[in-house]
Symmetry: C2
Subunit: 620 residues, 2 copies
């Protein structure tokens, strides 16, 4: 028996090199070296998203699924699926931008929160008497004496890790010290003059936004956005849950858990935010996280087996407070993380945050809130009846570019808007770069234009008789861009259209199911709030034209950006807003779509394109 | 340069073998292999307690301090100090019983607590509805619903580690589950029918006693005693603090921290206690620990620099509650450890427990409580004036056999009582074994008898003209046992007597200082309570004869055994007793001896032997 050979793989443009044993896929090698490659299917070879280019060296023969998913032209150029290619020598591998998960259109920050800062964390500066042999009161006793004398605080408890820092602080700094408290618990001792900061985290399936805030003034000091690195283990929630479950069955696997992966990111972001602003991690005395139910389970390393199969039950979806260190987050020694409460099923604290942030719960008229993503959460607030209902529909990642031939996320080079003239295709790309793919808004535009010009019919079928419809390697297609200068052709195929139809069908059916449950129709809706990055960039006319939304004759549209980010910042700043979140979570009735009897009919109908064109009238 | 050689060292009777690099002392090798060898001085070569016998192999030449501390006869037999001998080949090493820290006279259990079980931990059995697609309420929400419906419990918080166990439990067991709660926090989910247990720990500098109790019935289910394994790193508190401080300065040292060492023991004891009784560690839903200030600091890995030097300030000496897992103790996922509050200086929660356990605080007459150890804690309760004072005096380890030529702990083979006739020495040993040394009670008896027969004078000097006083290798000595059958001679030297005089002088001065501070004299004291193992075995007549205690003409003596153990069991069982401990700790005035003006005079005087003999009259 001979030992397994080792190969060195260098990744570009990441500039990282990793040594792996023979038998390790390029995808796993990238993961091992911390490079995030898109892998929607979780590395099963079915999604075709983990495209890499072998620049130097020998790899295993092209597999069957690669033949299906990569054009022969590109295979000749060295294109491979990272999950299906195995090194047979040292390699140099390029990761095309389209496969990277790291470069994104910046998350809109949403409106700034307008709440009074009323953080559960307070700070008290006290002057501590030195101990003497005659009065050798303990360090904590001397602090408690001053807290009582100066601020009337009695019998505070103390976090053990905060306490560990006290003796050195009292002997290094001046006799003044700053005590951070959360309710009646001392959570940190800091040098005099320190001010408590907090971090609000909008923990999305795809993107993570973090806001460093001054807990006293309520101001955002710094903010940062990043891709959720779990994306490298599967784009959608279910792939990640499956990955996590399988990994736990094989505890010897060298891969990091999804919990570690996301905790590392939050620690990194925290480190950068505090470094930027000249404070220390210890000043971060509070954290508030909003995320969907699965993201929170993975973050806290809660069991997910029961969440991944019917009836999809969470371990917890109420709010929960966890010591940051016990969630692996290194901030102020005794700080907690507050996780916002979820509503039901997969509708989690991010949706609660979105409602707070956009103020849907306080609207005086019937309001529909939609947050489009891999799962699309929809809420219908009816103050007339005093009802509020929410649901989540499995819209899939098509609007995020996955399962679409030339789809991609909203990154540089993505086509974000499309107009068709009789002869031409007019595109705009993000960053005005050469087009390398299409993101959701571009895809919706394309479909609306194809339908407007009759190039597809109401069932989404191409008019094959039209000369603009070509026959490509994968059947009928419409060419958006012929490519050139190193970039490939960008097309939309019949199969792509079917994917979009599934996504829009689900969302449309969700909206209709909510209206039906509440006993209202499109005429009753006064406002439609579109939250999230995608909701902001979407062309509303196109969206109604393809039937993603019904036409609401009496509604105004409101594109609020990342209002989940706004909401979680509000909750970070204010105990009252946390209570408001509890009340919202308690009040909203969760509607489970799969048990809703008319959902399937509506879904099927929603996949079609609207026959009547009320579109222009319904958009203000 | 050549690599350092490695040697294999086998220890008997432990039966353990360890590989070490050349340059590692035998003491360090023993520590590395987990074998506890007495090392009062912390391995500096000055106490002579870490005696081992080299049975096979070559070691470094005999050092100067070994020549001083070991007789030439024994050096020839291969006796060495483990701290001063270094291997030069593979070795077989015997550890004589006298150097081992593992075999001890059993700790007396003290009186059984007579409190109503009123634990802060309660248990609730609930029947949980299965989830459905139509009502996919989270696992926690379904439990909370039943807690509310069945027991009126609203808005419980949940420990995150308890929560991690819930999904599997609900899917494995029947629909019933047992919820352990502490106040309003859920700390564990267990199979239906589980009953919460708790462990009370009397964490002594030398010995550790642990009691597994049923929190509902208040009964002791099992108990265990062990030597505090920190003893291998120094017998007294100061040596251990020094060791810990030095170790933290060299983080690369391979030795375990003193915190780890004691946590491991508590985990081991817990494991054995639960195994014995057929429950699991998860059933242990509460823990209560009483220990002196230094022991608690080391246990919790709190900084000790400020505690080890004047003015000897604790980080904390109030009560504190810490999640067991955060103190490295593996019991019920969300369980806490409650540390009893200390009184001041080194007078810690063990003394508070002793007061609760013996009921000193409730006595209607003036009561003196004495707990003799390396530090001796003394409390004077005066219900007439409503005062209560306590102090700690540095009595040193002489009564525990250290710093005395043939002293040893109260282990098998220790001489525990001595009577002198005109010709003979009558001894009784523990376990009726061949004598191998003298423990504290034997030492006190010997001094009392020597004084009674005029072999020493009031200043403790030997009457060299008496033929029973011999001149030995280390000066004047009195021979207790000539030895034989493999055991050496047992003698008491002038230097030994001086050590005992220091110890008794400190304790006597402490008692007198307390009486002076309270303005009372020996006639006012109605009861003397002697706590702790040593206080139980002591011969009271001898103790008064040598002047360890003043003669109290009107006092009854009460030898209560390990009442700290009783007290900590009471605190485990009852929230009321924890409050009582707080009140005691708050009320008792701590007297710092070193600042007490007449202490030094009293100390000097206390070293003498009493000239008037009121002894027999004062003992009832």
């Amino acid at each position: 028996m001979t030992a397994l050979k080792k190969y060195q793989i260098s990744f570009n443009p990441a500039g990282k090199t990793v040594d792996v044993l023979a038998g390790t896929s390029i995808l796993d090698a990238a993961r091992l070296s911390g490079i995030n490659i898109s892998a929607v299917c979780g590395g099963k070879g079915s999604c075709g998203k983990c495209r890499v280019i072998i620049n130097q060296g020998n790899v295993s023969p092209v597999s069957e699924n690669e033949v299906t998913l990569i054009s022969s032209e590109n295979i000749e150029k060295g294109h491979r699926l990272a999950c299906s290619a195995f090194p047979q020598s040292n390699l140099k591998v390029d990761i095309p931008e389209v496969s990277m998960t790291d470069e994104f259109k910046l998350q809109l920050e949403g409106e700034n929160p307008s709440v009074d800062a009323d953080s559960p964390v307070k700070s008290y500066e006290v002057k501590i008497k030195p101990p003497s042999l005659r009065e050798p009161a303990s360090d904590l006793a001397r602090v408690s004496d001053e807290l009582k004398a100066g601020f009337g605080i009695t019998d505070p408890s103390v976090d053990i890790y905060a306490l560990k820092k006290l003796p050195a602080l009292l002997r290094k700094e001046s006799s003044e010290t700053m005590v951070f408290m959360r309710q009646n618990e001392i959570i940190g001792f800091l040098p005099a003059g320190s001010s408590p900061a907090g971090i609000a985290v909008d923990l999305g399936t795809t993107k993570v936004a973090a806001y460093l805030m001054d807990l006293k003034s309520g101001k955002v000091i710094a903010s940062a956005g990043a891709v959720n690195p779990q994306t490298a283990y599967g784009d959608d929630v279910m792939s990640r849950l499956d990955y996590s479950i399988n990994q736990k069955k094989k505890p010897d696997t060298p891969y990091r858990s999804l919990s570690e992966v996301i905790r590392d990111l939050i620690n990194d972001m925290t480190g950068k935010l505090v470094e930027e602003t000249g404070i220390t991690g210890e000043h971060v005395a509070d954290m508030c996280i909003a995320g969907n139910t699965a993201m929170i389970h993975l973050f806290l390393d809660l069991p997910v087996e029961q969440l991944a199969k019917s009836p999809y039950v969470a371990a917890v979806d109420t709010s929960i407070d966890v010591k940051a260190r016990e969630a692996g987050i290194n901030i102020c020694p005794g700080a907690y993380i507050h996780f916002l409460p979820g509503i039901g099923g997969f509708v989690g604290g991010d949706h609660t945050a979105m409602i707070i942030g956009s103020g849907i719960d306080r609207k005086k008229h019937i309001t529909l809130g939609v947050d489009i993503g891999t799962n699309t959460e929809i809420v219908l607030h009816n103050p007339v009846k005093g009802t509020c209902r929410a649901l989540s529909c499995p819209s899939g990642p098509a609007f995020e570019g996955a399962h679409v031939s030339d789809g991609m996320r909203a990154a540089k080079g993505a086509i974000e808007s499309v107009r068709l003239t009789d002869r031409e295709v007019l595109c705009k790309t993000i960053g005005d770069a050469e087009p390398i793919g299409m993101c959701g808004s571009g895809i919706i535009d394309t479909l609306a234009e194809l339908y407007r010009l009759g190039l597809i019919n109401a069932r989404g079928r191409f008019d094959r008789d039209n000369p603009r419809i070509k026959q490509g390697e994968f059947g009928s297609e419409f060419v958006i861009s012929e490519g050139g200068s190193g970039n490939g052709r960008i097309v939309i195929t019949q199969k792509d259209i079917a994917e979009i139809q599934l996504a829009k069908g689900a969302i449309r059916a969700g909206i209709e199911s909510l209206m039906e449950a509440d006993g209202i129709d499109v005429n009753d809706v006064s406002e439609v709030i579109l939250a999230g990055a995608f909701g902001t960039y979407i062309n509303l006319v196109s969206a109604v034209e393809i039937g993603l939304f019904p036409a609401f004759p009496n509604a105004g549209y409101n594109q609020v950006g990342n209002s989940a980010g706004t909401g979680v910042r509000m909750a970070l700043l204010s105990g009252k807003e946390r209570k408001r979140a509890e009340e919202i979570a308690l009040k909203i009735k969760y509607l489970e779509l799969t048990t809703h009897k008319s959902f399937n009919q509506r879904f099927a109908r929603g996949m079609s394109f609207p026959l009547e064109k009320q579109v222009a009238d319904s958009i203000d």
